[in-house]
């Protein structure tokens, strides 16, 4: 897994590529950002950018309510394309 900070533009540009991987790991249920990061072997700060971009455009939504151990869980919304 990368540990260096990449330019934010570069990370965000990859959202369309990472989308299907993130949706795939969420197929079995909601996960937190660190859990998604572990599942796709990517840095958490990059996953935040991808998850929030996907959330903004309707691919993901958070589980409402209180966070678990400080982290919200995110789930698929059903958007497929």
């Amino acid at each position: 897994m990368r540990t260096t900070n990449r330019d934010v533009r570069e990370v965000i540009r990859e959202e369309p590529v990472m989308r299907s991987r993130i949706l795939a790991v969420l197929a079995d249920g909601p996960l937190t950002v660190p859990e998604i990061a572990a599942a796709i072997d990517a840095p958490t700060h990059e996953v935040v950018l991808w998850v929030m971009g996907m959330r903004r455009y309707g691919w993901l939504a958070e589980i409402k309510g209180s966070p678990v151990d400080g982290y919200f869980q995110y789930q698929r919304t059903g958007r497929v394309s």
Binding site: R6, V33, H45, L49, M52, Y57, P67, G70, Y71
Partner: protein, 921 residues
């Protein structure tokens, strides 16, 4: 690009006042002047009015919602009868004329969206395939190239972020949106990518294999670790489509009752037929050969381009109802006209091999390059087994002939070429692959005679040695014979691949042509001397390549349609100028290495069959390869926005910038300020530590339209429980050249403290400060209130921040009020209360040095105390933070003062007390 970038007509307009910038100051000045009856031209560079204030969470000390109090003012500004607000526009320059009035050049940047019909539904944004950092959310989240600036934007109209044409798309002679299908592939939208290529040509699979990919030569990624495999990605989407068996999904207009005949079924003819059929024309192709496809089917070897691929692409054309007649040569164009065709396109290509022009060329065993390839493709017997073959020429046909000869069992194959390897016109990959397949090269030799035996069969090729002289008109060094230096290459077969020409005299007496048979046609319209006959492709240009031939077919179809519908014969090429690759690369500070796709070609030294040599890409490879795209032009022209938009014609990618000249009596500069770039304080780790953010970023996290679902730290999405503020980041700091106090950082930090304690009741808030500056009405009470709510304030500078492995942050600071001890405390999130800097854009509005700046580079007010808002230029006034840091309330007051100054200036002119001329009614 002859027809692109036409300079539009320049509109000239008159206003009383020009206001530059529509932040709270600009809006206030414009509204006050509009209310007074002055006609105001307001120019805003962003796609919405509102400036920074609309992006804030709340305002201090009232904690009013920033959106709630901004949006009415924004709406009033846009809808005021005396204000013309031009958003997404820029002032290119302002000059003062002798009569004291001003002339401003303004560019209305193309939104590519019709402001009148856009409903702000955001469907274009949702469908867009290009993700970029959202500057309106301080880069905390992605937006799309097609976007509405922010939810409260006024006007709430979409804009498509286009920096020009991407180099790959611009380089394609076929006009295929390479960037577009890259962005669709990385999104997993393979069928859509296939359809995007079909917009240009039916030959998706063909180009995916046999195109020489000029797009790849221009790929910006090529200057990093290597170009994208754009051609192979096109093959990938073709393969996916073929395997999926889906419909083409292409829009076809209903029949229009007109008929077009096309002579020739090569890439030009097929593409023209495709385009015309899609416009509703009834198209019939006449092909002289027994199979359609021209060069694709009769010349390019199957190891590069399988016959089945070409046939599938031709089936695309047939699927639109195009009739293809084979063994149907056309000699009489008038007969087609008489048969009822409204127009005829001649696209007969260059099928005839150029002769060597040396003695012995008629011997048994001498073949023309294209004739040889054609015979092989038509399964006609060509016995090369065990024979020595010499191919004369250095172009792609020569390479195809040589590699084909290897597959037919030739004992040896030698390419004889008069120049050196570097000067060969063949694509370097073709030459390299030929060599890897055992083809030998005899360079800098030119044929003098084909030698023969007693039976008249070829026995060798007598050549002269050549040397390279001065460059010729093509830039290549001219080959010159070396006297007395001859050699003989023993062989039984000579294949002449030194050039190709059209069939000479094919349309003699009907169309003009050169002695070589090149047809005459207008360079732009492709119309010939017979108005109903158009000619395109290699038949008019000489031998080129597939992509150029496809582009010719598109052009011809466009022009035929224009001619048959009585429109002007133009408008084919309206690409935006290509983006500057250096500017593209400069968008990022660094680039991570991304492995280029490995070569997938399998070559053997003695190939025995015509099996395709290049393997297809897997889906994983394709997604990864397309994911390397840099989005050079930002918008990829994938057309997803156009498809998603519910309003026909609302999105128009053909829109262009508009220019206008404004004559005004006065100018208000309200260009605001810039925020201090926090990475200039490296000891605080901004940009390195993801949980160190700026005050503006925290304001976005606190805003109702926040980028995340709540306040989370960007490093891992955790809800922060320990939050620290570092005040005076980049202000009151000589180490970064800014001794000034930014005036509102203390107060916005206190505001955020209170909001955070409301949103995260369990969070601990600590503020590291030098001294709190809360001089306004109710400001100090606001500060005391934050302390009473539980925020801790620690007096003393923060020396540095380090990051723990968990992403937490350790602040090392001085605690003055506890004996000046040096302490360290760990936090989840650190907010840098960044200061302000001048916006140097203001001075660029005028001639160099005309608009005076103060010693800190804010717009100078020479008589700030007694004459606020007046600048060094009579008639030019400054409003808001362009002249120095001000909070919202002070900016509004200052903007009101500027408006009063403008009114006085204009009224004094009316009264004859100053020199400016009266504004025309």
């Amino acid at each position: 690009m002859t027809e692109a970038c036409a300079v539009p007509a320049v509109d000239e307009v008159d206003y009383d006042v020009l206001v530059v910038g529509s932040g709270i100051g600009g809006m206030e000045s414009a509204l006050k002047l509009g209310d007074m009856g002055y006609r105001v031209l307001l120019v805003e560079k962003e796609a919405s009015v509102g400036g920074r204030m609309i992006l804030l969470s709340k305002v201090f000390p009232t904690l009013d919602c920033a959106s709630c109090i901004s949006t009415p003012k924004m709406a009033s500004t846009i809808h005021h009868p005396n204000i013309t607000a031009l958003t997404y526009s820029r002032v290119d320059g302002i000059r003062r004329s002798a009569d004291g009035r001003f002339h401003a050049s303004v560019t209305r940047k193309a939104r590519f969206v019709d402001e009148d019909t856009c409903t702000g539904c955001q469907k274009c944004e949702t469908a867009c395939t290009v993700a970029v950092p959202d500057q309106f959310n301080a880069d905390l989240v992605a937006r799309r190239a097609a976007h509405i600036a922010f939810p409260q934007a006024v006007p709430k109209k979409a804009v498509i972020d286009r920096a020009g044409s991407s180099p790959c798309s611009y380089a394609c002679p076929a006009g295929i949106q390479a960037h577009g299908y890259m962005s669709l592939i990385r999104s997993g939208e393979y069928e859509k990518a296939h359809r995007l290529v079909l917009e240009a040509t039916p030959l998706v699979g063909t180009l995916g294999r046999a195109c020489y990919a000029p797009c790849e030569g221009e790929c910006t990624r090529g200057s990093l670790e290597g170009t994208l495999p754009i051609r192979r990605l096109k093959r990938f989407i073709s393969d996916v489509h073929d395997e999926g068996g889906e419909e083409l999904g292409i829009e076809v207009a209903p029949p229009n009752g007109r008929r077009v005949a096309i002579v020739g079924s090569g890439p030009t003819g097929l593409t023209a037929a495709w385009q015309l059929a899609r416009k509703g024309y009834a198209v019939r192709i006449h092909e002289a050969a027994p199979v359609p496809g021209g060069f694709l089917r009769l010349a390019i070897p199957s190891y590069r381009l399988p016959v089945e691929t070409v046939e599938r692409d031709i089936d695309n054309v047939r699927a639109l109802g195009v009739e293809i007649l084979t063994d149907a040569p056309v000699r009489d164009l008038a007969a087609l006209r008489a048969e009822g065709f409204d127009a005829v396109l001649v696209a007969t290509g260059t099928h005839r091999s150029t002769s060597l022009g040396v003695p012995g060329e008629d011997r048994l065993g001498v073949l023309g390059g294209t004739d040889f390839l054609r015979r092989v493709k038509l399964d006609q017997p060509v016995d090369l087994a065990g024979r020595r073959v010499v191919v004369v020429g250095g172009g792609n046909v020569a390479m195809d002939a040589a590699r084909t000869a290897r597959r037919l069992g030739a004992a040896s194959v030698t390419v004889a070429y008069r120049r050196g390897r570097n000067e060969m016109p063949a694509h370097h990959v073709e030459a390299d692959d030929a060599e890897r397949e055992g083809v030998q090269f005899s360079l800098q030799v030119a044929p003098l005679e084909v030698l023969g035996d007693a039976q008249g069969a070829v026995s060798g090729l007598r050549c002269t040695r050549m040397r390279l002289g001065e460059p010729d008109a093509t830039g290549r060094r001219r080959p010159e014979p070396i006297p007395g230096r001859e050699t003989v290459i023993p062989c039984e077969v000579v294949i002449a691949a030194v050039g190709m020409t059209p069939e000479p005299g094919a349309f003699a007496g009907q169309l003009t042509a050169t002695s070589l048979g090149i047809l005459g046609a207008d360079a732009v319209t492709r119309q010939t001397s017979l108005p109903y006959v158009f000619a395109a492709g290699d038949a008019v240009n000489g031998a080129t390549d597939i992509t150029r031939a496809v582009g010719e077919g598109r052009r011809a179809a466009h022009m035929i349609d224009r001619w048959l519908t009585g429109r002007t014969m133009d408008g084919f090429d309206d690409r935006l100028p290509v983006v500057d690759k250096h500017l593209v690369l400069a968008r990022q500070q660094a680039y991570a290495f991304r492995s280029p796709a490995p070569d997938a070609t399998t070559l053997v030294a003695a190939p025995a069959d015509f099996t395709e040599v290049e393997a297809p890409m897997t889906e994983t490879e394709a997604r990864a390869a397309a994911g390397r795209c840099l989005d050079c032009a930002v918008c990829s022209e994938c057309n997803e926005c156009v498809a998603a938009c519910p309003v026909d014609g609302c999105i128009d990618l053909h829109a262009r910038d508009q220019h206008l000249e404004a004559r005004v009596g006065a100018v208000v500069v309200s260009t605001g300020f810039k925020l201090f770039p926090a990475d200039l304080k490296p000891e605080y780790g901004y940009g390195r530590y993801r949980n160190v953010i700026t005050g503006m970023q925290m304001d976005r996290l606190l805003a109702p339209t926040r980028p995340f679902n709540t306040i989370l730290r960007p490093g891992d999405g955790k809800v922060p429980e320990r939050i620290a503020y570092v005040l005076c980041t980049g202000s009151r700091d000589e180490t970064v050249g800014n001794p000034l106090c930014s005036r509102f950082c203390c107060m916005y930090s206190i505001k955020q403290n209170q909001l955070l304690m409301g949103a995260l009741p369990l969070a601990d808030i600590t503020v590291h400060y030098m001294d709190i500056r809360a001089p306004g009405k109710r400001y100090d009470e606001f500060y005391e209130q934050a302390k009473a709510m539980g925020a801790a304030y620690v007096k003393g500078r923060v020396a540095g921040i380090t990051e723990t492995p968990a992403g937490d942050l350790v602040l090392r600071y001085e605690d003055i009020e506890h004996g000046g001890v040096i302490a360290e405390t760990e936090y989840d999130l650190v907010v840098l209360a960044v200061g302000v800097q001048p916006n140097r854009d203001a001075e660029e509005l005028f001639e160099v040095g005309e608009l005076s700046l103060d010693e800190w580079n804010f717009v100078a007010e020479p008589e700030e105390d007694l004459n606020p808002g007046a600048t060094s230029i009579p008639g030019v006034f400054v409003a808001g933070a362009a002249s120095g840091a001000k909070d919202i309330a002070d900016s509004i007051i200052h903007a009101g003062a500027a408006a009063a100054q403008v009114a006085a200036h204009l009224e004094s002119a009316k009264a004859g007390l100053s020199e400016i001329a009266k504004v025309p009614a």
